[in-house]
């Protein structure tokens, strides 16, 4: 550890050791592709890119989760395993420095997801409580899984469910998606020959027509979208146009998204919502209840934790729990985390490995340590 570490680093490293974590060694210089692939191109303007002599695009590590997961896959380490890290990350920011410290834990491969989720929230909470003694911490958590279960139970077609699930966590995008569902935008006119094939639902002839168009354009059917894929989606779209989101389904979705309660009441509230809307959320609800109980068992005050049904974090790879921890006097969250059960497969793991983790912005914590609570 370098002397550049923030003053609180020793306490945090002690906490990691006491909680049985393996310290992760993560190189500062990382291949850029996994970050851009996983977090999206939006990251490009916020990271420091460079190039190796051989033309490989590299970046200064902008975060730890992806490199920790990549190293785990490469080393074929056994699971479950909990990795801790504390170090600098590098991002181009309008405010604050471009180098700042983050600390966190990535918990990989624990099949008991309720327990692992609860432990992640508790670890993040404990870290902040150590760094900011005497301050009241507030936790907000959301659940991508419950939201997706509500969409499925409402009987929404797959295309709509996916669109809404992608918008989860962004009030504006969700609003736009719901408006489109209530009143679908008019489609462009199709060429007459194509329109009649669509009307007849003839996927095969449609694919043949599309294949001919691709050939004319010099597009290889193997390099990207295939004719049958385009034909299938075209037919699916035609079907979706005739479906409208019912008033009841729309109201139920709105009622669900408005739920914000202390965790102590969350399971009962969700149960009540499911019953009054006539929805079967059994699996997702059971998982939620188990996690809520596990969080209480970790000794966290369930009154200081809020469940917000519309709360999500803007990263494609979260699959279940998402959470943030802050204080009344911090404008931005001090810690954020969530469950990413798809991430390791996307990064190349042969078998699915569940994962949950969090990261603490130590620069924000440091700024708070300088002012009295």
């Amino acid at each position: 550890m370098t002397s550049r570490n923030p003053a609180i680093a020793t306490d945090i490293l002690d906490l990691f050791a006491a909680r049985g974590c393996t310290p992760a060694e993560v190189a500062v210089l990382q291949p850029a592709d996994p970050f851009l692939d996983m977090a999206g191109e939006d990251l490009r303007r916020r990271i420091f890119l460079t190039e190796s002599e051989t033309g490989e695009t590299l970046c200064l590590r902008p975060e730890f989760t992806i490199p920790v997961c990549l190293d785990h896959i490469a080393s074929q380490a056994g699971t479950p395993r909990r990795y801790s890290y504390l170090g600098e990350v590098f991002r181009q920011r309008r405010e604050g420095g471009n180098e700042f410290f983050q600390a966190g834990i990535e918990d990989l491969g624990d099949a008991d997801t309720a327990r692992a989720d609860a432990r992640s929230v508790a670890d993040a909470h404990a870290l902040l409580a150590t760094a900011l003694p005497g301050r009241t911490l507030s936790v907000v958590l959301g659940d991508q899984g419950v939201f997706e279960a509500v969409l499925a139970a409402l009987g929404l077609p797959r295309g709509w469910r996916m669109r809404l699930a992608r918008a989860f966590g962004s009030a504006e995008l969700l609003e736009a998606a719901l408006a489109d569902l209530a009143n679908p935008p008019r489609a462009n006119a199709l060429p007459a020959a194509v329109a009649s094939l669509v009307a007849a639902g003839d996927a095969e002839a449609l694919a043949a027509d599309i294949a001919a168009r691709m050939e004319t354009a010099g597009l290889s059917a193997a390099a990207g979208r295939t004719p049958s894929e385009i034909a299938r989606r075209l037919l699916e779209k035609a079907e979706l146009r005739s479906v409208r989101l019912s008033r009841e389904a729309f109201d139920a979705l709105k009622a669900f998204l408005a739920i914000r309660v202390p965790l102590s009441q969350a399971t009962a509230t969700l149960d009540g919502f499911a019953r009054s809307a006539g929805l079967a959320l059994d699996g997702a609800l059971a998982a939620f209840a188990a996690r809520a109980a596990a969080i209480t068992a970790e000794g966290l005050d369930a009154e200081a934790i809020h469940y917000d049904a519309a709360f999500g974090r803007p990263l494609d790879y979260y699959t279940g729990l998402v959470f943030e921890i802050g204080t009344a006097d911090a404008q931005r969250p001090l810690a954020g985390g969530g469950r990413y059960d798809r991430l390791l497969t996307l990064l190349g793991a042969k078998k699915p490995i569940p994962g949950v983790g969090f990261s603490v912005w130590l620069d924000r914590v440091d700024a708070l340590r300088e002012v009295r609570p």
Binding site: E41, D42, R45, R166, V194, I210, R213, T216, A217, L234
Partner: protein
Amino acid sequence: MSVTLALPSKGRLKEQALEVLAKAGLVVALPQDDRTYRARTSIDGADVDVAFLSASEIAGELGQGKIDLGVTGEDLVRETVPHWDTRLRIEARLGFGQADVVVAVPEAWLDVDTMADLDDVAADFRHRHGRRLRIATKYWRLTQQFFSQMHGIQVYRIVESLGATEGAPAAGSADIVVDITTTGSTLRANHLKILADGVILKSQACLVSSLKERPAADAALITAISRRLAAAIA
């Protein structure tokens, strides 16, 4: 103290910029030697340095405050300069050099008309093809703002293209393009179609000033030039 005005160094943009300036009463005395990239003009008896640069260089130099005024495309201003509106001001849109920055997909993608369609396709792409949807463009900043910030589409990759972007889908180096077009004919010739809500920017040549600290006399000169040009094209 002096003010530097940068103009495009060649082609139609150069000619049209000189025409508009002349119409505003700012006649640029062109150097005899074609290889000289410096000239002068004047307004109300005050001299103005003129520099001839490439249009993208003009945007960059304005962003860094190295020149005071420039004629360049709005697309280049928004693409080249991060947080451009904190550093630059568009003084006047000059009514030439019109072109749209657009999202275009293969015509054979009969199921894709809108950005919402593209969002759907992009979300499924990796699962189906083992890689992200690829967009060829030289406008990575505009693309990223339009896709990520306006339409919430995160999962795609940008393939930087330095020329003949419209050929990328047929060449297999990208699936779709973000490109600049005036009439759309090049896109059509390459069997690409513009999405219904896929116009990212309607660009044209602009007089742009750099927002930096400068002596009052220079600031007054910049205001005078901007007013004169705006009046000339009104």
